[in-house]
Assembly symmetry: C2
Homo-oligomer: 468 residues x 2
């Protein structure tokens, strides 16, 4: 880009065809080591997990410059000479002089600057919400999330999907789940009126609107913030989270849908493997159960074989058998939803993501297609993964107008409120289905992060503050 | 994809290396024409603006099938034979039989189905919010938006940016603009408590949070819904809109920023030109001032020469001169913000997007860098474009802690509320800047759509309803 210094990522890229000198280079000091004739400075610039090593030649008159350097400062470096170092981890180093012409501090730090050279605990980093992303681990996690988003975009482009933006402000509660945020214009609250003339909520899922669009565009997807005023304060729940939702026409059974979801996830995992050197820092925090090596090993193992598929009924049988060996807190029972402990056990049992299909109708939402051959189940799936539990839920949608209306009435729903939605079944409808993937859960699971709050830059959750 | 019929887009792609037969094909009927021995069916499937022509051979016993076909139905077609038609616009047609084995209606339409073969007015389409996206023009507009998003992702990836997700729920009002939506958990409204323990708003701009992230990751961007409880009910305002915001380190003057913004927009326009055949329908609605040809001509002209840059002061001089020739409603005057009529005149005058830089300090936000050489102006820019007016606003950010605090006090702001933000200037700060692009305005302008409400699937705006 004209006028801007090269990113460190681009310097690493150019290692096979290096420039003789790098005229301008900017970054933050990660560490400084002063020797008699030389100084070594590790710089980071946030575009790669790997620090850039700078060698500075000292001289009598220039020592003052070096003595002022401290971790956290932002530094401008001019006219650095490129030296190949083929035998080392970093295949080059940059050399410059300790003159004010070559080294210039752009941004100072106070002596109390909290991020020092050492590795910090996650608990400590979380207590510094404006600085924590400068740590190599949390910075890498954000770059990783970005790579996942980009890979998803490529995938859906390659499959002729249209990316759409359904509304965040809606009049209804898609899932009937209850825990809604209400939105109102500030000026109207004072006047006790309503901006849209009626109560307005933040979306909990864009699915119903996506179904409108899939009936026009065939294959649609979105990546949208969703909101649930959860009261559960766990490491798997956020009040504001990003959800990928996809909806596609001409799928008629749930297995086609699981195949498509697996194809999508494998595409992303493949991108992660391809870019692993740009994605993973060399050291993970001590509290992390994972290491960079085990993360890569997990990615590679995900690509090896097809992921198992079992029905809910089979899952309950397995869980019941296990319950006799070692009791769960909740007894597995056909007709009841799977608990998080059940999901985690199943995924651990298979040591793989597992698709669980065909749940009882009463465990799932009104719009799921009722299986004609198995009483009281619906053509749906959840994808559960080790450690995390559910990351995707999806289904074929009930396409028969009469059955859909009947089901809404059976559940005591006012079908008139959703006339716009049910009318789709009367106007050139097509068999269709889709799913929702919680982005932060997915990113956390792939990266091995224990707390999904680290997978979004500023988390909003029950019991959380909102000082910014 | 296994099990799913090919999209029409993929069939058009395969025209140079066609299959002998297409086993399965699904779409919606756009028109049916019955001749004595043949029937012609135009199908659409929402993945391309171009209909797919199906030729059906009639026979005595199979006429019943054909007589039931109507515009809007969704249709399954089996075993269609591929016939090259090298001399026609569509380089192939698909042929099948009128047997129930080959043609099957998947979704009926009522006789009142409103979308018929003829071209509908935009006003009519807008009155059918669940069906309007099936029209070739509005469907194309959504596909176009998707292509723009994908192109932006490619661009930012190529420039080593990290895509981030700043929060939607915030405690503050970034711009001081006032027109905020407040959000509260439904259960807490009843209890008169607050989910986050304090008033919470929907973001009007993610910039301040982006500045936190740019200080960690160097180059960041986001595409996020933003909310403004506008009372203006115009064709350029939405209460819920998507904003692209980018923030980058090591830009020190506003010209570097305008160069970067131009680079980004040219990348998108280049993608549009490359994919024009997939993006534009052959006919635009009559009310549209544009035609497909003029849209492509505009894209091509945008790529020809660098876009002009003028200062606000120069802009005022030009406007004053024009004001003596033909009066504006608002008199142009140094120190006052440019009106929409002024912006539109300037862009028309240059017949090009125009960067206007260095506005008076009091016209712009507190965080913009004050020009040291020109009293009372700030290092900012707006990009204005013909017909639409402003689509981007950006600036270098004031990086000097003392000047920033002084400016906040001068404006009567409580700087303590933004301690988290201003502290960035004390902790390894770096020169930086960024901008926000209103996605719907940008998409509308490129596509020649007069009303930005058509560039988002379900618009939320002043005076609008929210029945879904």
């Amino acid at each position: 880009m004209p006028g801007l210094p090269p990113t460190f990522k681009s310097l690493f890229r150019s290692a096979s065809n290096p420039p003789a000198t790098v005229e301008l280079l900017c970054g933050w000091i990660k560490s400084v080591r002063l020797l008699k004739n030389l100084a070594f400075i590790d710089l980071q610039d946030g575009t790669t997990p790997h620090p850039l090593k700078l060698v500075v030649r000292r001289s009598e008159e220039s020592s003052d410059v070096l003595k002022q350097l401290r971790t956290g400062q932002s530094l401008k470096v001019k006219n650095a000479v490129w030296k190949a170092t083929p035998t080392r981890v970093q295949p080059f180093e940059l050399e410059t002089n300790a003159s004010p012409d070559c080294l210039q501090v752009m941004g100072q730090v106070p002596t109390s600057y909290p991020l020092q050279k050492k590795h910090h605990s996650l608990a400590f980093l979380r207590s510094n919400p404006t600085l924590k992303h400068r740590s190599n681990y949390l910075g890498s996690l954000l770059r990783f999330r970005s790579c996942v988003e980009s890979s998803l975009m490529q995938f859906f482009d390659s499959q002729d999907f249209t990316k759409v933006s359904p509304p965040i402000l809606t009049s209804g509660d898609c899932e009937g789940a209850g825990e809604l945020f209400r939105a109102e214009a500030n000026a109207h609250i004072a006047r006790k009126t309503s901006y849209f003339g009626r109560p307005t909520y933040l979306t909990v899922s864009t699915q119903l609107h996506l179904e409108v669009l899939t009936m026009a565009l065939n294959r649609v997807w979105t990546l949208t913030p969703c909101f649930r005023a959860e009261e559960s304060d766990t490491n798997r729940h956020l009040a504001e989270f990003w959800m990928l939702e996809a909806e596609l026409c001409y799928v008629e059974n749930v297995q086609e849908l699981t195949k498509f979801a697996e194809l999508m996830l494998r595409h992303v995992v493949k991108s992660c493997v391809d870019q692993k050197l740009n994605l993973l820092p060399s050291i993970f925090p001590q509290e992390s159960a994972d290491s960079p090596e085990s993360v890569v090993a997990r990615w590679e193992s995900l690509l090896k074989s097809e992921w198992p598929r079992i029905t809910y009924t089979t899952a309950i049988e397995l869980l019941k058998k296990q319950h006799t060996v070692s009791q769960f807190s909740f007894e597995p029972q056909w007709g009841k939803d799977l608990q998080s402990e059940h999901e985690k056990w199943l995924a651990a049992h298979y040591n793989s993501p597992v698709f669980i299909t065909d749940y009882p109708r009463d465990c799932k939402a009104f719009y799921m297609k009722q299986n004609r051959d198995a009483a009281d189940t619906v053509a749906c799936f959840d994808l559960i993964v080790p450690q995390m539990g559910e990351i995707i839920g999806g289904s074929i949608r009930e396409n028969n107008y009469d059955i859909l209306i009947q089901e809404m009435h059976r559940r005591g729903m006012k079908s008139e409120d959703l006339d716009w939605y049910t009318s789709l079944r009367l106007n050139g409808s097509a068999p269709h289905g889709g799913f929702g993937l919680g982005l932060e859960r997915f990113v956390s699971w792939l990266f091995g992060a224990q707390n999904i709050r680290d997978s979004i830059p500023f988390h909003r959750s029950a019991g959380g503050t909102i000082i910014m």
